[in-house]
Point group: C2
Chain length 133, copies 2
DNA sequence: TGGTGAATGTTATGACATAACATGTTATTG
DNA sequence: CAATAACATGTTATGTCATAACATTCACCA
């Protein structure tokens, strides 16, 4: 599914570090701005690095945000179906997976002879901290 | 959750009919092009109608495609959690819901004191027809 | 050493979405 | 019948996300 990662190039490392340091998801253009001082000039420099990092499974794309986050479990490299809980207030993203949900969706696909290639689960709302405040 | 729909305005009806007639999801700009002959000139005319129709629950937005589809069950107006299976080949979209998945995600949210406001589930892949062909 | 493939740099363009403001349309209601 | 309020619409401009196309550089190995 995901390609094994050799070592990262300079651009890939910079982008990954930027995401890893960030509080929440970042858009490609936000990453670009943060990396101007490191010589980044054009969106493609970011998008190309993001593509590779996605392939390595080191980051994820949040479809409902058009943004990217560093993987919360970059070592358990073979995580199956992943879900994201995204706080609309503080931007915090919680990455988790659920066997039951995964099996259930796989069951639906099998019943309908649908060959799933990529599944997106994103829950938008308010996190515990933001609700408490 | 969704507001009750009074009757639709001319623009809203045109946009909804366009989506209902379509084979698959349409982007806002594709809808705009299809409605040029009906007097549509600017993206906002489409986006405003789409916003209302989303509020009425008559259409859905597919986050992973930046596109829109007519609701497959526009009468069962109170559908809970919806999932979409999207064929990458023919564009067909299958809209379904699953009680178990819904309860499971609600359980996660409760456990983590996360207040879910909108949940997206989108499965991309190949439909039965396209796999047979 | 030179040739191959991958990564990078750069410019331009395409695709998706909204801000801001003016105008029109349709009830209420005094 | 105004006056008004609420909503829908039209229009221009701009903002945001993503890729096409092409030139150059780099790392590696025959
Ligand atoms: Zn992950
Ligand atoms: Zn929060
Ligand atoms: Zn529906
Ligand atoms: Zn298909």
């Amino acid at each position: 599914m995901t390609t094994a990662s050799p070592e990262l190039t300079r651009n890939q490392s910079l982008v990954l570090e930027t995401l890893a340091k960030a509080e929440g998801p970042l858009s490609a253009y936000t990453i670009l701005d943060k990396l101007r001082d490191d010589g980044f000039r054009a969106p493609l420099q970011v998008y190309r690095a993001l593509d590779k990092l996605l392939g390595f499974g080191l980051i994820h794309r949040l479809e409902s945000l058009n943004a990217f986050v560093a993987c919360a479990h970059p070592h358990c490299h073979a995580h199956g179906l992943i879900a994201f809980a995204i706080c609309e207030k503080c931007g915090q993203v919680d990455e988790f997976s659920d066997e039951v949900v995964q099996k259930r969706l796989a069951g639906w696909a099998e019943d309908h002879r649908f060959k799933a290639e990529k599944t997106t689960i994103e829950i938008r709302g308010r996190c515990a901290n933001c609700l408490a405040a």
